[in-house]
């Protein structure tokens, strides 16, 4: 099945610069698979365009990248794109992955209650380490890549037509593989530190579908 995919990619600080670049791999994969991709990057990651694309194009997958909190996911310059009680009904019949802090806690379940097929996100802060020497070239940052790969696995699986709970499981397994690899090698101080944050992200990724939250 070919999907249509809406991606929001704000880019105005280090965190959004990194995750915006990480999402490019998903866009390339989706295009390779023949999916229609609606890429709202930088200033296009605003509420007006977001709501317009959702209504007009009705994408089956929504990939949100940006800052967030329990009730909200934001776009460029932290403009709120979707907030509990305001417009989460727009996610009806959609599968959502939010690479965003905390939104899996309240916005996720609320979206599903309002008709979303599934919402995969994080119920706490998403934390990653990066190489300060690569901060202007995130695509070359091997430290950050330890965090991007397991996260991106959610979208890779969804684009391969896996069910949301399978995509969630595959991502967690990807985190676990990375963690085991770091623990089984002669860990450097950096790798040892990275393990803590990988475990944190893995444990706090949640999948909410049909009123069930899978941890």
């Amino acid at each position: 099945m070919k999907h249509s995919l809406l991606v929001t990619r704000p880019n105005f600080d280090l965190t959004t610069r990194y995750i915006s670049i990480w999402a490019k791999k998903i866009i390339a994969l989706a295009e390779e698979k023949g999916s229609a991709v609606f890429d709202l990057d930088k200033n296009r990651a605003n509420r007006k365009e977001f709501e317009s694309i959702i209504r007009k194009k009705e994408p089956s997958l929504v990939f949100l990248n940006g800052h967030g909190d329990y009730n909200v996911v934001a776009g460029q310059d932290n403009e709120e794109l979707i907030r509990v009680g305001e417009n989460e009904k727009l996610l009806k019949s959609k599968i959502v992955y939010a690479l965003s802090c905390r939104s899996g806690k309240i916005l996720g379940p609320s979206s599903v209650k309002s008709g979303a097929d599934a919402y995969i996100g994080y119920d706490e802060d998403f934390i990653f380490l990066y190489d300060g020497n690569k901060r202007t070239r995130p695509e070359q940052d091997k430290i950050a890549e330890m965090f991007s790969e397991p996260s991106n696995q959610v979208m890779v699986s969804l684009l391969k037509n896996h069910m949301p709970k399978e995509a969630h499981k595959n991502s967690k397994q990807s985190f676990a593989r990375r963690i085991k690899k770091l623990l089984s090698s002669q860990s450097t101080a950096l790798e040892s530190s990275a393990v803590r944050y990988l475990i944190w992200n893995m444990q706090h990724q949640v999948c909410c579908e049909r009123y069930v939250i899978i941890n």
Partner: protein, 70 residues
């Protein structure tokens, strides 16, 4: 029983071993270099407490055998 102060010190000592160029992104709380992270932990503010919380989570996980389950 390990005290919170001991955990804090443990976290700081481990952070000191990180390469100088490593930074950390904690979502909307911002991004921090090594010295800033250590300063936050020493200060015990929101960001410092988050770092300590992650460490506590890791230590609890070790105790509960979490790494064998993953």
């Amino acid at each position: 029983m390990v005290s919170e102060q001991e955990i804090k010190q443990l976290v700081i000592e481990r952070l000191k071993t990180l390469p100088e160029e490593v930074g950390m992104s904690i979502g909307s709380k911002g991004d921090f270099n090594k010295n800033e992270i250590i300063a936050h932990v020493e200060k015990g503010d929101d960001i410092g407490q988050k770092i300590v919380e992650v460490e506590m989570n890791f230590l609890r996980g070790l105790k509960d055998g979490m790494l064998y389950e993953t």
